[in-house]
């Protein structure tokens, strides 16, 4: 017997695959038709194929504080999430606009601060920003690009409108899982790829390498590009390896590099020292150079900032780029777009209340039970309060924290996040909330957006927390070419 899609609950949310009347949305028609032919045993088998592939391929992630378990299998749900190509093209344009403005903002902040002088962005915010690096003031990275790689989190609200939830500009992760999810899905449902025109995603490593190579401070066609990792205990270590491997670059640790008296960066090879041109660093700002930042850091390289300032090496992303990776600064992105580009924002933000604004502050305290409260600079879902799912005690604690440091908090309405059919552990198909993290590469000459991105899904019924560190799963994201629909 085929899976009972008749009991699927698509009401009350925007479901991305199924209409309220339980018919399939046009873009997902072929997928739904296929899934409906599978009986529960076949579904369960497909899940096993996926689990086995993940285990064999060694696709893992790490959750901090789990002791010996440094690699847990990456959770993939076997029902893909589909997006129409036409819609995605609009999202791409919106993301490019956004990242362009963000780079202009960061560059401005470390130079003339025109946006502050012109009264568009408050000076006080900058002074209290934990990610503003005074050590970066006056530095001009190549092409004035600071956030070469941006991972923006997108959500679809109750009306089906795609909005930006946050921008990750420090060391955004997840792209390797986007790529691996596709490899797994090709094993799980190979027949689907015959009939549905799913756009490929595997161009990313080449695009990334081209962007990195373009950042080289030296001319010549073979720049030495390396990936700097904190090591195998980092939660994203799998990804660091994966990307280095896909790009054919050296994966280095801090101990593999040194800065010479000539302020150039060298790596220690079996033949001695070799000059490095571009470092795709996956180590946080504060740990990259014990001479300048955290003196106790063993993850970084002493003198790296010296070499960068001298223009002898490119750091990707640039130190200090995180100044725009702040949930309060986020709320000013539409203003930045207007200010720098004189354009209207194409991809809207989620309505955001800033706790350091007295009016917003009062609103947040009064309505905390309805809001999602986020610390300005945490990631991975840490320190989040989801009002409707919280206890009075948790709310009181968050209010106490907000009062102590209003600059560090923002609040947003609890979004009615869209759902996508997902296979539950009980082998039923139910709607689960999702978000989407595309990645945007900027070299200054060119901007590239991934085809779709990493879809994260909250595996617990009703949950809005999609982070893998908090029990979230993932889905392959299919951007489906338009000519497919014409053919149907």
């Amino acid at each position: 017997m085929a899976h009972s899609w008749q009991s699927y609950q698509a009401k009350g949310f925007y479901d991305e695959l199924i209409n309220e009347d339980l018919t399939a949305r046009l873009t997902g028609q072929a997928l739904v038709d296929f899934l409906k032919t599978l009986n529960p045993t076949e579904m369960d088998n497909a899940r096993h194929v996926a689990d086995l592939a993940v285990k064999e391929m060694g696709i893992t992630f790490t959750v901090y504080g789990e002791g010996s378990s440094i690699d847990r299998s990456w959770p993939i749900d076997i029902i893909p999430r589909v997006i129409q190509q036409k819609e995605w093209q609009q999202v791409e344009i919106g993301l490019k606009q956004r990242v362009k403005a963000l780079n202009m903002f960061i560059n401005d902040i470390y130079h003339d601060q025109r946006i502050v002088k012109d009264g568009v962005f408050p000076k006080s915010l900058l002074e209290q920003s934990v990610n503003f690096r005074k050590e970066c003031v006056g530095i001009s990275p190549k092409n004035n690009i600071w956030a070469h790689i941006c991972g923006s989190d997108l959500v679809r609200d109750g009306e089906g409108v795609i909005r930006v939830l946050e921008d990750n500009l420090r060391v955004p992760s997840g792209v390797s899982y986007m790529l691996e999810n596709r490899s797994v899905m090709k094993r799980v449902f190979p027949e689907l790829f015959d009939n549905i025109n799913v756009l490929p995603v595997n161009d990313y490593p080449s695009q990334l390498f081209d962007m990195l190579a373009a950042m080289s401070p030296r001319s010549g066609d073979a720049p030495e590009v390396v990936v700097l990792t904190p090591g195998m205990y980092n939660s994203a270590y799998f990804e660091h390896c994966y990307l280095a491997q896909q790009m054919g670059c050296e994966l280095v640790e801090g101990g593999d590099l040194q800065v010479g008296d000539d302020d150039c960066v060298y790596m220690k090879t079996i033949r001695g020292l070799r000059r490095v041109d571009v470092i795709y660093r996956r180590v946080d700002d504060l740990f990259i150079d014990p001479e300048v930042f955290n003196a106790k850091s063993t993850l970084g390289v002493a003198g790296l900032m010296r070499a960068w300032r001298a223009g002898n090496v490119s750091l990707v992303n640039a130190p200090g780029a995180g100044v725009a990776d702040d949930k309060v600064v986020y709320s000013y992105v539409p203003d930045m777009i207007k200010y720098y580009l004189a354009e209207e924002t194409l991809l809207p933000n989620v309505e955001t209340f800033r706790c350091n604004d007295p009016e917003h502050f009062d609103y947040v305290i009064k309505n905390i039970a309805e809001l999602v409260v986020k610390p300005a600079n945490e990631s991975g879902g840490y320190g989040l309060l989801i009002g409707p799912h919280s206890t009075k005690a948790e709310q009181a604690e968050t209010i106490r924290q907000i009062k102590a440091d209003p600059r560090n908090f923002i609040a947003q309405p609890t979004l009615n996040l869209s759902t996508v059919p997902t296979l539950t552990p009980e082998n039923e198909v139910q709607g689960r909330h999702v978000d989407l993290r595309p990645f945007i590469l900027s070299s200054g000459d060119d901007t590239y957006v991934t085809t779709g991105g990493l879809t994260r899904v909250a595996m617990t019924k009703g949950s809005l927390v999609v982070n893998s560190s908090q029990g979230g799963g993932s889905k392959d994201t299919w951007i489906i070419a338009d000519n497919q629909e014409a053919a149907c």
Binding site: M57, M232, C241, E250, K268, T269, I270, G272, L273
Partner: protein, 321 residues
């Protein structure tokens, strides 16, 4: 290539080679014990001697019964040389260099690791152990094959081969050392001696090749000569050394390292080895092990501890004709 990466590859290959040897050794010993009457068999104790872990063993176990020795050699997490720990170390090492080895190879190592973890009980079960060790040996041979067939044969591969040959030479010499101590008694033709030497050969996958090359009945002298000095058998010490020498040339190794290998090779002459007996033989193998450990050290000094003063001007071309 990064010095750290080169060292990691070297060690991964050593661990895998050790695991393969261990797996075969255990499996063959198990077969041998079924053939030998009680009282003649020296039991499981020699295997602990071969891996040189008597002290670690005695910390945990009182006697040398099947169960204890097999757990210790196979799945014991306190024993750094157990099969499980070797594969785990290889996997952990390869994890840190996943970007340089073919994905397929990583998947094979990863699957092997999971296999051992999921089948822990099989290695001490009389009935299941044959299949278990066969699986492990085959898996490692597949990994070697995949490396040979899919990894660029440049520095990384050479360092892996280096680790493999050095470990193999070391294991072969250890097996001979321990087995000759318990088997060679001059003028004393022990019953079942033939059977035991066959098992020594088998534990190095050398039986068939020995037959082909040496032809004659199996005797201590010939077995020793074959395992130490044969130039065609890929697990003989001489073969391993000449491979090290050839690979070292591709890496433009230090003259001191080359000389050390050469010296060691010269000592391994068939007519010399055939004349060795008892204590002499033991001393000879001891000296051989010191040579192997020196070769390891010289390799580390040259390649794994980068000279931080010299800045490389141009990439040295390897694999020259």
């Amino acid at each position: 290539m990064l010095a750290r990466v080169a060292e990691t590859l070297y060690w991964s290959a050593r661990y895998l080679e050790r695991a393969e040897n261990l797996s075969r050794l255990i499996s063959i010993n198990n077969m041998l014990m079924m053939d030998l009457p009680k009282g003649v068999s020296s039991g499981w104790r020699p295997l602990i001697d071969i891996v040189g872990s008597v002290a670690v063993y005695s910390d945990t176990y009182q006697d040398f019964n099947d169960r204890n020795v097999l757990s210790f050699l196979t799945i014991d997490e306190e024993n750094p040389s157990s099969l499980y720990m070797c594969v785990k170390s290889a996997r952990n090492n390869l994890r840190t260099v996943r970007e340089v080895i073919p994905n397929h190879v990583w998947q094979l190592v990863n699957s092997l690791y999971h296999y051992i973890q999921d089948n822990r009980s099989k290695c001490i079960d009389k009935r299941d152990m044959f299949g278990f060790f066969e699986y492990v040996t085959n898996a490692i041979l597949t990994i070697s094959g995949a490396l040979h067939a899919t990894l660029n044969h440049d520095e990384g591969y050479i360092f892996m081969c280096y680790g493999m040959y050095l470990e193999r030479a070391d294991m072969s010499s250890r097996i001979l050392d321990v087995r000759t101590a318990s088997l060679i008694h001059e003028g004393d033709e022990k019953p079942y001696e033939n059977l035991q030497w066959i098992s020594v050969l088998r534990s190095m996958s050398a039986y068939q090749m020995y037959r082909q090359k040496m032809g004659m009945r199996i005797r201590a002298k010939e077995v020793l000569t074959f395992i130490l000095t044969n130039i065609h058998f890929p697990r003989s010490v001489q073969f391993c050394l000449s491979s090290l020498s050839r690979l070292g040339d591709l890496l433009s190794m230090d003259p001191a390292l080359k000389a050390r290998i050469g010296y060691c090779q010269e000592r391994l002459q068939g007519n010399v080895v055939a004349e060795l007996h008892g204590e002499e033989l033991h001393a000879f193998i001891d000296a051989l092990q010191i040579d192997l450990s020196d070769i390891h050290q010289l390799l580390c000094d040259q390649f794994f501890i980068p000279n931080t003063l010299e800045i490389e001007q141009k990439q040295v071309q390897i694999m020259q004709a």
